[in-house]
Subunit: 416 residues, 2 copies
Amino acid sequence: MKAEIIAVGTELLLGQIVNTNAQFLSQKLAGLGVDVYFQTVVGDNSERLRQAIEIGRSRADLLVFTGGLGPTQDDLTKDVLADYLKRKLIIHEPSMAQIEEMFSSRGIHMALSNRRQALMIEGGDPLENTTGLAVGNGLSVDGTLYLLLPGPPREMKPMMDGAGEVWLRSVLGETKPLYSRILKFAGIGESNLEAKLLDLIDGQVDPTIAPYAKEGEVSIRVSTKAGTPDEAGQKIDKTLEKIKERVGEHLYAQQDIPIEEEVVHLLRASRRKLASAESCSGGLLAELITNVPGSSGEYVGGVVTYTNIMKHHLLSIPMTQLEGEGTPGAISDSTAALMAERVRELADADFGVSLTGVAGPSESEGKPVGLVYVGIAERGKKAVVHTLNLSGGRSMIRLRAVKVALYRLWLALQGR
Amino acid sequence: MKAEIIAVGTELLLGQIVNTNAQFLSQKLAGLGVDVYFQTVVGDNSERLRQAIEIGRSRADLLVFTGGLGPTQDDLTKDVLADYLKRKLIIHEPSMAQIEEMFSSRGIHMALSNRRQALMIEGGDPLENTTGLAVGNGLSVDGTLYLLLPGPPREMKPMMDGAGEVWLRSVLGETKPLYSRILKFAGIGESNLEAKLLDLIDGQVDPTIAPYAKEGEVSIRVSTKAGTPDEAGQKIDKTLEKIKERVGEHLYAQQDIPIEEEVVHLLRASRRKLASAESCSGGLLAELITNVPGSSGEYVGGVVTYTNIMKHHLLSIPMTQLEGEGTPGAISDSTAALMAERVRELADADFGVSLTGVAGPSESEGKPVGLVYVGIAERGKKAVVHTLNLSGGRSMIRLRAVKVALYRLWLALQGR
């Protein structure tokens, strides 16, 4: 089964939005055992949309459209496809009732154009829109399948995960789905990881191994087509063993979760609490940790001691440690150690973590951009400090530093 | 001039990465007066790539390729296009020298396949790659223009902004470029802004007004084609007046900068300093502020008092304010006021800002998800507290709350 994704919308051609729908649908279709051979973007223009349909029909068995189902004159997908297939547009009564109900319940006057959202192509199946008004459509005509989805991701995704998938499975019959597992790594750079797995990435045919880019994180995706989840799991486990032999100490999860979530889990499981003291990272570690739902049980709080005076006021670090000739300075391993220890004491937490360094754009205290010290203080122990030399712009250095700090915490929580 | 963007790469068809290149190139081409009519994505497959070239040539005057210029056997763009155009591939000697130099300077053995990156199509112009090894290519054959760019954004963007743009301008000659101005708003929701500008967005033909989505921010883009920047500026200014009449109090910038950058500018201009105390936002405000380069002159630091004990320890807020029956609780306007005042005093700053509320997923202190109090304390004045009722998931509530807090700070810094 060969598929083509056709996204309809001039805003995509103007670069006003990025085509995340194509990515979502490609992943989704792969999971259903369907191969996507082309993705096309075309504007809100009847003639060019018709051309795209014709070309798509000549090279694919399934055309998945997103966009152009809305109420405005620019929303052409149903009209053009109906005309191309020489079919009529008919009203889907339940959708029409839903649209009228929505407007009347809010006491808003309904523009007639809104009725367009309840139209569907004759002979097709309606696909329920649980988060919007435009009804979707599934059609099978002369051996080609057509799936019409809305453009806004908040409507398209639920429809594809719901009625769209059900419809596709019913018309596709048996296919061998693609199973994937995401492996997440920390404390190792992307290029370094790839170098260590290069022969596997290049040479491995089934399962396949592919790097999977995500800002500030390092992941790979292991994929295989299989008849059952169990069969897939066994195949993936075999490949996993080879990966673990080489970079096992950096593997922190076999699903797509960030390292901060693992840190919160480990804290929770061992009933321990964390506090943070941040300088160059400016609160990013606190922000990532507290973005994990329910983290208030594990994360007590922290300080963003962005200036020396705050390091002194909040953490009682002597000014003679921070400033003046011959002193270690704010960006030093001894300051990182003090920050981690003091914030841990102040918060009466089991772990204190600290970051101090130079995120750039210019050097500080005569120290180079990218130099960051990470301190980890555990109750009853002296703080351990890790020295990092990071590359990238200001935001990337901050993010990488925080991810390494979280990795070091993750190790410390396991007594490693 | 009609253009088509052809992105080459199986990773796009598998949904492993999102096609941000298409967005960047679409914006770039619009800025050069070129209309993008189609975007296509095709995998690393000779036959299908050849098909895409044929279709592209039949409907566009300019084909812009990204991807497939690298060293591996999967990198096919130059081979397939050369074959299609019946031209030879030749070695671009300066690129070859650069590649060899890179490997020898690092003392790494160079695989022969790396030589492929120095190949170009005979009769074309080489395009320098300042951030990678694969040389780009610009060609004009039988009335069609071909522009070949690398796939990785960190190589593609600098090449397009550099040698690619120079080459395109030289072959395009005169075109009327599209000028755009981004307007940034704060303290108003996207749908509310759109509702207030609806007739302008729908009815305005030149300049056009389009909402421009960006997470947690509200922006619109005003665009017009014009002969000179001055002519464009005058046309856009006229439209701007109409927009200002309706939502002028929310407009904080006429360029794509975040509100935190404006806040730092205002602090700097008035030589005032800021400190923060965050609860529900967990350090996000500190993180956004400190992500502005050079903000250490204006942002002193802050606390993330995620738990009551930290609000008590760090900010000396009495436990009788925070806990127990009949007390205001941590999520209250009086606690927000105390947090803002105390952190301002502690840091000896001119402004203190605080956030306390319920980011979710579940309610807290019997108070609903989305309820957030923002406190603004100014030296010599009592704190002012704003009550927000926000919608969205946990991350979105945090981001929206922080953006509103920054908007309130921005107003306060202007004495509004």
